[in-house]
Amino acid sequence: MNKPIPVSDFHAYPDVHGRFADYGGIYMPETLMPPLEELTAAYLALRDDPEFIAEFERDLKHYVGRPSPIYHAERLSKKIGGAQILLKREDLNHTGAHKINNTIGQALVARRMGKRRIIAETGAGQHGVATATVCARFGLDCIVYMGAVDIERQKINVFRMKLLGAEVVPVVSGSKTLKDALNEAMRDWVTNVADTFYIIGTVAGPHPYPMMVRDFNAVVGREARAQMLEQYGRLPDVLTACVGGGSNAIGLFHAFLNDREVAMVGAEAAGEGIETGRHAASLAAGRRGVLHGNRTYVICDDQGQITETHSISAGLDYPGVGPEHAFLKDSGRASYVGITDDEAMAAFHELARTEGILAALESSHAIAQAIKLARSMPKDQLILCNLSGRGDKDVQTIAAHEGITL
């Protein structure tokens, strides 16, 4: 539909207005514009502050447990019989996913800005848990907005957040899921703007969030790039990662964006199949629009109303996607494909049986894509797949999906 945009330096984005070419920006009510400006200024200053960087890196190392290894899934690769599949083990981080990279970063920004009240939205509960975790770690008040439907689906994560001292507020408006939790968090912020810091969990939302969340997760790709050179003496041929809002994918992709020989494929949730309409593949099957403060690809009807999405993986169940991914799609730098619930489930089992790793259902989409790609690639090629989270949280969903009573 759109002609690819020639880009000389992918690291030059976003511009000062938070735009990634045609995407991103700040589409927010006036009340929140000054606090967003304040946040942008504070973050840009901290980004270059050696003390802040050292503080962030110290926590990544000693609290999160970084660097996370790159693991060669040898038995899986052998079974597929094509390219070698390497896993970036973000599932080994504290709290079990990449999400903590971002929440630590933002909590440190909040602390520097003197904000003691933290709010967050969560879908599956992973970002909520990661936020509650860092709030406990830094002694900050934590309020997590969560759709009433999701609260019912994710009882264990709700309890986990409460154990960590967070207040979980059920959201009963709209579809009672992630997008509505985001709306409600925005409403809280607009009301309590003076003392409150909003920790957004993905690379969406208004500027500076897509940039800031990316920067905090970009440690994944920086590490991976160095590890590839050290362990394999070269860069991978392809990167794969799952894309809901897109934070783990941009985290892995970003350091490699100017390495044009490295291909990148994002795996979106095709749910029950894109043709059924029950999916969450904003890039593969959505259209250009505006949602939650940025211009991007969205899933909406002909009246511009955001529609309900579907994925077996709650973390991918979102009708928008980070603006940088929209930009990478249009520029042709990355491609985005849909992986169905069934394909993700099959990949989950394959990895569990061949490597002894239970992947999160989100990450299982990336594994499925890696397996698909490996089949048609020669054995000496390398696919680096972001194993963004562990699957312990999903065992109940998987049991229910397969008709098993625990």
Binding site: T31, G174, N183, V190, R287, G304
Partner: protein, 270 residues
């Protein structure tokens, strides 16, 4: 013909009156009653009508307008029908300005060129797109080019620098959000509102309407002391939601607005 908003504020100023701006969600509570409700509001003293374009994700709105939008969407209300209602209203009311208030995505998906042309033809005078701040107003350039006024919000958090930028782009009037919060909340601080509105007016002669937190004659009178107009939305939308048929919706609208009009005129004359 495209200057209804300016004319209306000039008339108000000339007669020493305060503007009364009711907000109703288009198509709620009964889609076919919208035009009749608009006429009833004018008969009860409305100077300008804000017609809400329902959206699935209204981040600046409280529960009353959220639910009202959900009801309208469930009944299939979209831009095409709303513009048809505006045209129908215009057939018998050539002077009352109409401002569409809503969020960007429905207009984006409808198409800017198509929206601009059809909205103008229908008799829409302005738009207030809640999630389009001055920085992003390039998105809606085509609407401005078509003569549709761009109404911007000013908030208690708005800085001097931003206020200057808003003044430069504002058309028709500016809408001062009386407190940092969502529509329908009740945190009005009259002294602070007065201070801010006076400050906004010092920098130019664009009229200032005040909204958020105005819910009855008393709050309307308080706010109108400094403002050129008051906007009243959630309280009216909540009343309308209880109406069982078109006829009762029309009388609810009239009975709600008339005493506010009376109180505003009494206060202005005093």
């Amino acid at each position: 013909m495209t200057e209804r908003i300016e004319q209306r504020f000039a008339e108000l100023r000339k007669h020493g009156r305060k503007g009364l701006i009711p907000f109703v969600t288009a198509g709620d509570p009964i889609p076919d009653a919208t035009v009749a409700i608009m006429h009833a509001l004018v008969a009860a003293g409305a100077d300008l009508i804000e017609l809400g374009v329902p959206y699935s994700d209204p981040v600046a709105d409280g529960p009353t307008i959220q639910h009202s939008s959900e009801r309208a969407i469930a009944r299939g209300v979209g831009i095409e029908r709303i513009l048809a209602w505006v045209a129908e209203f215009r057939a018998t009311d050539a002077t009352t300005p109409i401002v569409l208030m809503g969020y960007l995505n429905p207009i984006e998906i409808y198409g800017y060129a198509r929206f601009a042309e059809q909205a103008r033809a229908a008799g829409v005078d302005g738009v207030l797109i809640v999630d389009v701040p001055v920085e992003e107003s390039g998105s809606v350039e085509r609407l401005r080019d078509a003569g549709i006024r761009q109404i911007f919000l000013v908030a208690p958090t708005t800085t001097e620098l931003r206020l200057a930028a808003i003044r430069k782009q504002a058309q028709g009037f500016v809408y001062y959000v009386s407190f940092a919060g969502i529509t329908g909340a009740t945190q009005l601080d009259p002294v602070e509102v007065r201070r801010r509105v006076d400050h906004i007016k010092q920098g130019g002669d664009i009229p200032v309407a005040v909204g958020f937190g105005v819910r009855d004659a008393a709050t309307a009178v308080t706010v109108s002391a400094s403002a050129d107009a008051v906007v009243i939305g959630s309280a009216l939308v909540a009343r309308l939601a209880e109406a069982e048929d078109a006829e009762s919706a029309v009388s609810v609208a009239r009975d709600f607005l008339a005493p506010i009009r009376e109180a505003l005129d009494l206060a202005a004359a005093a």
